[in-house]
Symmetry: C2
Subunit: 479 residues, 2 copies
């Protein structure tokens, strides 16, 4: 799977989100991607021969130097998924969280694993598997938290570049609330080590075409005021994006109040240290007040919703409908290993379920709330798939480059294949091949396209993602 040196022609069915809740189905369509990985034409009602006879000539492309990929019967191209919040060094801990909640989870599982990434051999094994695994699930862009270690963080950036995943790679800054051996010694060290990682990424990908640094204060409880201030200053100087956590857990919020007694809210802590920018990704945002959400909206900061993590470490259910209503951009994050799954499809599925849990009668609703009002918070199939793609693109600030199949955007895409149930006279004596291959999404043939999308969302997995491209380059393929 080497970089594509050629122009490419994609033919068949394409599905993408064009607005929240609105999937567009483009059938019998041709999409042309130039050798730089950019979409230069989207032509409807265009089969292979029309493409060869009129579309390619119009672009001045020689058919002999164009790679052609067609979606098979019932297959479709879908934009690559965007994981707006993930911790690569926690990958080996996925599924291991017991009954813990945020603060004890950090001490019991997370800090020991993260600190062990000081061993580069281990980091290479873990990060390779993490990046490969997420590519296999169709994640074409990921915003990674690494660890405090400069060499291992740089290695993660190297691996993303070589394996072909678009990524934001952040060296984690934390100068308190960790074990002594896993802390920056000072705000200055947080900044200087972050600068080392920025310099490395500049060296390997000077225009941040694929991999970009991101300023990464872990979260307010583990950063002193001077550290936050220094990182805010660094952001102003570099104009780089920022990622951190906010308001995930009630005990965390209480801790922030104790640590910053002069500052009114958790959100204000970031704002007063110049970290609440329009390039800031805030993970979780479960327990925000109205005023905090308004401030985030005003600053145009973004939210990474992590429903799997919300559910696993029992943080609470983020109110996505409410955040969207405030005009805040929301994407999805796996939050491995607070979340157990490497899959953004699973995150989308759980975003739906978490929104359902919010709507349930057992949730704290004002007396007399109607069923209809409760149901409004539910997220549809189309909405969660929007968050997984175009919504995520806004969150990572790449809305002009990825997230949909628009001319001018780059070709970050996956080819999806569903399982067709055979129609034979005697199934009982038939073979089990269709059970062993191709995953769990069983299509009988009578389903509408909307129903197929729902089936994919709820029973799909990496087996349905048969090819993955980033910036035009094929970075993963199944037979």
């Amino acid at each position: 799977m080497s970089p594509s040196a050629q122009h490419q022609l994609f033919l068949g069915s394409f599905v993408h989100s064009i607005a929240l809740g609105q999937l567009e189905y483009l059938h019998s369509t041709a999409i042309c991607v130039d050798s730089s990985g950019k979409i230069v034409a989207v032509q409807r009602d265009c089969d292979r021969s029309t493409a060869e006879q009129s579309l390619l000539p119009r672009l001045g492309w020689d058919l002999n130097h164009v790679t052609v990929t067609e979606s098979g019967q019932g297959q479709f191209f879908f934009p690559g998924f965007i994981d707006t919040h993930v911790h690569a060094p926690q990958y080996p801990n996925v599924g291991i969280f017991g009954k813990s909640t945020l603060l004890d989870w950090l001490n019991t599982y997370t800090f020991p694993m993260e600190s062990s990434m000081s061993c580069l051999k281990k980091a290479r094994r873990v990060y390779s598997q993490c990046v490969r695994r997420s590519l296999a699930h169709g994640t074409t862009t990921a915003s990674y938290f690494a660890t405090i270690h400069v060499p291992a963080t740089n290695l993660l950036a190297d691996l993303c570049l070589s394996l072909g995943q678009r990524a934001f790679v952040g060296r984690v800054c934390m100068d308190r609330l960790g074990p002594d051996h896993y802390l920056d010694e000072s705000a200055e060290q947080s900044v200087s080590r972050t600068r080392e990682c920025i310099a490395h990424i500049q060296a390997i990908d000077p225009e941040y075409a694929l991999v970009s640094p991101i300023i990464t204060p872990r979260f307010a409880p583990s950063c002193t005021g001077p550290s936050l201030a220094a990182l805010g200053k660094l952001q102003k100087e570099t104009n780089l994006p920022v990622q951190t956590h906010i308001s995930e857990n009630n005990n965390e919020i209480s801790l922030v109040k104790e640590q910053f007694p002069g500052i009114k809210t958790y959100t204000d802590v970031y704002d007063q240290h110049d970290l609440l920018t329009d390039k800031t990704i805030l993970a979780h945002a479960v327990h925000l007040s109205e005023g905090e959400a308004d401030l985030i909206s005003q600053r145009q900061s973004k939210v990474a919703h992590c429903p799997c993590s919300n559910s696993s470490i029992t943080s609470g259910e983020a109110r996505v409908r409410w955040l969207l209503g405030k005009g805040i951009s929301v994407g999805l994050g796996t939050d491995m290993s607070g979340g157990y799954s490497p899959s953004i499809l699973e995150a989308a599925r759980l975003a739906s379920l978490v929104s359902n849990h919010l709507a349930m009668p057992g949730h704290r609703w004002p007396e007399g709330t109607s069923d209809e009002d409760r149901d409004k918070v539910k997220l549809s199939v189309e909405e969660v798939l929007h968050l997984a793609t175009r919504g995520g693109a806004e969150v990572v600030g790449l809305q002009d480059r990825i997230g949909g199949f628009d001319v001018g955007k780059e070709w970050d895409a996956q080819l999806i294949r569903l399982n067709v149930v055979p129609d034979v006279d005697d199934e009982a004596s038939g073979s089990s091949d269709n059970i062993l291959e191709g995953g769990n999404v069983d299509v009988f043939g009578w389903e509408s396209w909307e129903e197929r999308m729902a089936k994919w969302l709820f029973n799909g997995d990496d087996r349905n993602t048969v090819k993955v491209w980033v910036k035009g380059r094929l970075v993963h393929a199944r037979r």
Copy 2:
């Protein structure tokens, strides 16, 4: 995959639940299964040569006529899963539920699909795929709702028998609240058609060794009083098990109150019609009152917890800890297609998450409830795996025959394989084989067995289930 004519010897690691929350790990162990499918010996500290030299001779078994299966490195045998509540005819609808809740979901999606099973060709295609799919996920026993159609219900029983899945197969009885063309005409017809299905199963499996009939009033809202009474009488006469739904959704509960104005509670409706027996499986039980749960406990009726369905069609979160505290047996159900997944492993995973949602601060807890008290409702990895196996066996009344690796029980088991992450010097240049094969559970080698079980629970799928046996017969295998 034909019936095993031979005795069998299983060697290696075995994991099973011996009590709620308590997994037992048997390593270097041998289990002998006779040609009837029964476990006749469980021998610890027994490798292959010890088994051959002392265990088999002690049983009087000739090594040349014993089939030997060893778990590979890091693999383990686990009891087959028990799906205590599933609707086979709804299988094509998995994932398709939109924003509906129970009553509109029935009318929009469920009744149209179920009624189409009057076509036997369609029923064969759907039921074959459903049974094969659930076997592939390690479900060795399932309690099926079929439809009102006698021939299609009998076909489902035939398929379970031929494909080798242990099953309870129930013809659905409903004489109101469905479309006119999809209703029994009378209580008498509900009973006479049920008798036809009982007779069929008696004919194909006279001792109900694998497949048993089960009396299946759909639920109180779709059965008139006379119909419930007649089915209660049929139960007394036949002593067959019963399955139905209870207290899934608030609107459903209101409807029952309207329909049975003289009866105090939903539970009382079943009790007063002699359907609340110690062989009754009640699906959902989300909104029971204290008094109802006490009555269910007193009658020794069982509960099928369906967390995926709870979350998908927004019914509410069943309080499993509370039900268990009442002394009620609880198992897991996929409830396809109220639940979207054919997998009881997914049901176990979601049982954990649903219990977490119950524990969340946003849930209606009395003022001043402590974090510790909230956390008590959470279900552990070990607990949900218990519900999936031994708990389910109690619910379907087969606690003496299946659910664990005890002498005298039958060999309903699955062989589980996790994915070992390679330890090479340069992952980036390595192959992706370990990503493409074997599923998503990545084991690095340092994990404890408890951690492996957690990883399997949270990221496992049918790829990890490499072999499945029912009553000693190999019924599913991956390469």
